[in-house]
């Protein structure tokens, strides 16, 4: 050991130190001070070994506080752990009891509120799914016994435990032996033995934090923090386990409760079980002159252990009139004065510091009132035991109910969760033998149930498994005796202001009294009024005490009648990043790209997110901005030829005898008579009559159609077709296949497109006579690749679509590039596509429609068949509201100044309206001077058109078609701009360019 700690060492060899490796000294730095520790220490045990149990002061009242517990329930000691290496970051708000001490660790206390490290977290987090026949939570004696009993036959057994080593309560025991072996050793041996079976999985440092429907348990595993930095590389820092188990055995133990009395928050007041854990597990003695204050036998065992480890037991204060024989014997062995029917009613600190220096003890009469003289005893630690609360959290996550058990003064789980088996202290039996017995039974029962469900042979373990046998070395076990809870120790002054219930929230009995006085009798109201139970420990040490104080006030003995002891996930706090797992960055929502993507990347194009797709948005040449690029691309298509990657359009193949009938039921127009070799544009509505999708559908054969959909709507349309087929029209003979990913689609558009296609597909007669609009032909490309070429136009130009097997997409694209070189063929993206189609008044579903637009609204009334008896949505189009004459209709809009590009989303108001916007900072709302200013509609699409030589847009406007030629106004950047309403199609309205 090279660094001396500046505090006296409280490390003792007179205690077993089950959890530490005395041969592996380490050093930590806490609050700027160095502490010697051993591998296996927790931060808390290292500090206690260094003689320091004082934490930061409390958050609201600034009162000195100390370490209360040894586990996840710790309410006072919250720390920030500094980055553990150069590529780590700080983490705050961790219970000092939950952090494993590692060599070089630096940390400091925070007072109830942490500061987040703004440095991005470079650590890896991941997730793993696992199935188990039997999942056991907790590797104490009950969980280990359950594992032994369950690991039979073919059963896959998983044991998870939040600690760094197995043993649970055995690690805190000085004397427990099982089957003749030291308890902690037995735990390690049991794990070693079980681990020889490949069907057994043991996960340490893994906390089951949530228990969901059908035995879906989620657990967080710490994987690297305890490792040396060099061993962390490539290992995820934390892993979230998702375990679906046929049967679950819960063996999480119980948590000790503090006692509510005046000044019960002083540093040096510690749970008796925690004092015992620090001593036996870590060999760190938390005090030298120790007073013990209890309501049950368990603290006598702590007194014995503390005494054996060298501490002086200065007082044993017991609320009960009588202690058990074993307890009385134990008291004698410690040499402490035993005060029965008594309570600690206050604590004092030394003049020099905040830490406990003395306790005041008074007798209690039969009604619990103070009686007799108060005596004061010097002590530097007060070990308290208010009784134990079984850890019912995971049980209640599943809506399992609990019953208040007066015998143990705790809530115990009822047997009302399917596939769940409770064992150990959770059942209210706190003895080691009880843990082994209930664990063995639970394990065997779980095995039998799992074997029956899964149909495997449970082997010899089904039912009559023999439990291991526990012995305590030199005295009778101190468990199971009577508890006399002291929910509220009267204070000498009568004030309850410093009788604390929730230490982290600084809430005392007086706060509960106020809430009660305000009219609150439900524990949920009390919690909300006082904030008790909402801090980091989520009420683990305060919840039952708060209920009990309330019960005391309303004169109720059954705490179950006061409220429900239900808990919500998670059991312990979870880092956001661990839950995010690998779903970060590129894996957040993996992007879909086309086969032509490498070319797009090389061309340096900008991409647009369309659904999950990355689509080329525009291809800027050197120095061009988006506007310039789009103007160039748009002009190139109209003047010569352009090509675009259209692969992302959804494609659905529909086959079967009834394919025509099926397609016909979805589109508003007719498809039954569509000829083989031809395509038709169709609009699809929801049952509500609103446009849902559109696209061209081709008839490949009598019984075979290829439907195209919008890029982002493909999955929804596919689902839609399947739903109707399976749930309403199963009698129709159709089979649906999504083939979006199977084809690459290249659009070649512009006056020269025919020339390009002629070169690309030399065997194809591309003349207008042989290859008419809305027809398709199978062809072979010049590189031998088979293709289906269609004459479809979304730009109003002569236009072809080449469809090839996706595998050949890139080569086909390059073929078009080469063939088009002589015409200066120009690649274009979605922005140019939008300009071109908008010039033609062609809609983009989802941009020019929003789920409230009928086909007629969108200028597609021509595509709604009046002859068809039925299509989906038809009935809704006949409703009153669908027939309203003032519905918003899609029209074109043009700024009168011929300069202003209207923002998409701009609203249109009457020519004489004046919204008088207030100028000024963004804080100023526009407050219309005369109430709401009526909006007639809004701009859905807007572009600068090089082909029209002016900006233009599309807009949905009330009775829009009647308003052609009308001038309206729109607010653009705080200025009112005049806007002329025009016909939907502004470019080549006669459609002359379509055939070239």
């Amino acid at each position: 050991m090279t660094t001396a700690s500046s505090s006296p060492s409280r490390r003792t060899d007179a205690a077993p130190g089950h959890g530490i490796d005395r041969s592996q000294p380490i050093t930590i730095t806490f609050g700027g001070q160095k502490y010697d520790a051993f591998a296996g220490d927790s931060l808390a045990s290292a500090l206690i070994a260094g003689g320091n149990l004082q934490t930061a002061n409390s958050m609201y009242l600034d009162r000195p506080r100390g370490i209360l517990a040894a586990g996840v329930e710790e309410p006072n000691g919250l720390v920030t752990v500094k980055a553990r290496s150069e590529d780590d970051i700080d983490e705050t708000m961790l219970p000092v009891t939950s952090v494993e001490a590692t060599d070089g660790l630096e940390a400091f206390y925070v007072s109830g509120q942490g500061a987040l490290d703004p440095t991005p977290d470079p650590a890896l987090y991941d997730r793993k799914h696992m199935h188990a026949d039997v999942l056991i939570v907790g590797a104490g004696p009950a969980g280990l016994a359950a594992a032994r009993a369950a690991l039979q036959g073919e059963a896959r057994v998983v044991l998870i435990d939040k600690e760094n080593r197995p043993g649970g309560s055995l690690l805190s025991s000085r004397t427990a032996q099982i089957d003749g072996t030291d308890g902690a050793q037995w735990a390690a041996d049991t794990i070693a033995e079980l681990s020889e079976n490949p069907d057994f999985t043991y996960l340490s440092r893994t906390t089951a934090f949530g228990n969901y429907d059908s035995n879906y348990v989620i657990a967080l595993q710490y994987r690297t923090d305890h490792l040396e930095p060099k061993h962390r590389e490539g290992v995820s820092r934390q892993r979230v386990w998702h375990i679906r188990a046929d049967q679950v055995v819960l063996a999480p133990g119980a948590m000790e409760r503090p006692i509510v009395f005046s000044t019960n928050d002083r540093p040096g007041v510690m749970l008796a079980g925690a004092a015992r854990t620090y001593t036996n597990r870590y060999g760190a003695l938390p005090g030298q002159k120790i007073a013990v204050f209890t309501t049950n036998d368990s603290a006598y065992e702590a007194a014995l252990d503390l005494h054996a480890a060298g501490a002086e037991i200065v007082a044993l204060v017991d609320s009960r009139e009588k202690a058990s024989e074993a307890a009385t014997a134990a008291a004698e062995r410690t040499g402490a004065e035993l005060s029965l029917s008594s309570a600690v009613i206050g604590t004092n600190a030394s003049v020099m510091g905040d830490r406990l220096a003395a306790v005041s003890i008074s007798e209690l009469d039969a009604d619990g009132a103070l009686t007799g003289e108060t005596r004061t005893v010097d002590a530097d630690l007060l070990a308290v035991s208010g009784g134990f609360s079984p850890t019912v959290h995971l049980h209640t996550h599943r809506q399992g109910t609990t019953t208040w058990n007066t015998e143990i003064a705790g809530f115990v789980p009822n047997d009302d969760v399917t596939g769940e088996h409770c064992a150990g202290a959770l059942t209210g039996d706190f003895s080691t033998q009880g843990a082994l017995d209930t664990g063995t039974r639970a394990g065997a029962a779980a095995l039998a149930a799992a074997a029956a469900n899964a149909g495997f042979d449970p082997g010899s373990g089904s039912g009559d498994a023999k439990a291991p046998s526990a012995q305590v070395a030199d005295e009778a076990p101190l468990c199971g005796a009577e508890v006399k809870p002291l929910w509220l120790v009267p204070s000498a002054t009568g004030s309850t202001d410093d009788s604390f219930v929730d230490l982290q929230r600084d809430q005392a009995v007086s706060d509960i009294e106020r809430a009660y006085g305000a009219g609150m009798t439900n524990i949920e109201h009390i919690k909300r009024y006082t904030s008790i139970g909402t801090a980091n420990d989520q009420g683990k040490t305060s919840g039952v005490n708060a209920m009990a104080v309330l019960a005391h006030m309303i004169g109720e003995e059954d705490l179950g009648a006061v409220g429900v002891s239900g808990y919500r996930p998670p059991f312990t706090a979870l880092p956001f990043a661990a839950l995010a797992g690998r779903e970060r960055g590129d894996l957040f929502d993996p992007a879909r790209v086309t086969a032509i993507q490498p070319w797009h990347l090389e061309a340096g194009c900008e991409f647009e997110d369309v659904g999950q797709w990355k689509r080329p948005w525009f291809f800027a040449k050197d120095g061009e901005d988006m506007h310039q690029a789009v103007q160039r691309e748009s002009k190139a298509v109209r003047d010569s030829v352009g090509y675009m990657d259209g692969t992302t359009l959804g494609k659905i193949e529909i086959r079967g005898q009834d394919a025509a009938e099926f397609v016909n039921r979805f589109y508003t127009n007719g498809f039954k008579l569509l000829k083989v070799g031809k395509g038709r544009y169709g609009v699809m509505c929801g049952v509500d009559g609103m446009i849902m999708d559109d696209g061209v559908t081709m008839r490949i054969a009598d019984d075979r159609f290829l439907m195209t959909t919008t890029s982002s709507g493909a999955a929804a349309v596919f689902d839609w077709l399947e739903e109707w087929h399976q749930t309403e029209w199963p009698e129709l003979d159709v089979t649906l296949t999504s083939v979006t990913e199977q084809y690459s689609t290249i659009t070649v558009a512009g006056p020269k497109s025919r020339d390009v296609i002629a070169k690309v597909a030399p065997g194809l007669d591309v003349s207008n006579e042989a290859f008419a609009f809305m027809e398709f032909q199978d062809a072979e490309l010049s590189n031998g690749v088979p293709a289906r070429i269609c004459r479809i136009s979304f730009s109003g130009e002569l236009s072809f679509e080449i469809n090839v097997d996706a595998f050949y997409g890139l080569s086909a694209w390059k073929l078009v590039e080469e063939a088009g070189a002589e015409f200066d063929i120009t690649p274009y993206g979605t922005e140019t596509m939008h300009v071109l189609r908008a010039e033609k008044g062609l809609i983009i579903v989802g941009q020019d429609t929003d789920g409230t637009v009928t086909p007629d609204d969108a200028g597609l009334g021509w595509a709604v068949s009046t002859k068809k008896k039925h299509f989906i949505g038809k009935r809704s189009l006949e409703r009153e509201d669908s027939q309203r004459p003032d519905r918003k209709q899609l029209v074109s809009v043009m700024s009168v100044d011929k300069k202003t590009v209207l923002p998409e989303g701009a609203q249109l108001i009457a020519k004489d309206a004046d919204p008088t916007p207030k100028k000024g900072s963004v804080q100023d709302p526009v407050t219309p001077s005369n109430g709401q200013v009526h909006s007639y509609g809004f701009v859905t699409s807007s572009y600068m058109s090089p082909n029209l030589g002016r900006p233009f847009g599309l807009a949905l406007i009330e009775s829009g078609r009647e308003r052609e030629g009308e001038i309206m106004k729109s607010l653009v950047n705080g200025e009112l701009v005049e806007v002329e309403i025009g016909p939907l199609c502004l470019f080549d309205p006669e459609g002359k360019r379509r055939d070239g």
Binding site: Q399, E723, T727, H870, S876, E880
Partner: protein, 97 residues
């Protein structure tokens, strides 16, 4: 994460499924004969019980088949699943699967 017993594939995690709301709501034979109120009921009104509920699911990340289920909307417990076209199983109070 519900565990849903697909009638075609067996029990699978909820993330493989999509929900379809109330089961056995039949598309009207001839919507044109319904008045607006009747049509409105078909479009917008679904049962919303607290308790056993016949509902539709699709195993969208699996066999892609729609099926029906009886599930308790208060406890989330599945009382049974059955393929499209099959009759709903009779559920007795307290039946668990």
């Amino acid at each position: 994460m519900l565990l849903i017993d697909c009638p075609h594939c067996g029990p699978r995690d909820e993330i493989e499924f999509s929900y379809g709301g109330e089961a056995h709501v039949v598309y009207p034979e001839d919507p044109s004969v319904l008045n607006d109120a009747e049509w409105g009921r078909y479009l917008f009104y679904r049962e919303n019980p607290k308790g056993d509920f016949a509902e539709r699911w699709i195993h969208s990340g699996g066999c892609r088949k729609w099926f029906n289920a009886i599930r308790n909307t208060a406890t989330y417990e599945f009382k049974g699943t059955y393929a499209m076209g099959e009759k709903a199983p009779t559920i007795k109070e307290g039946d668990a699967k």
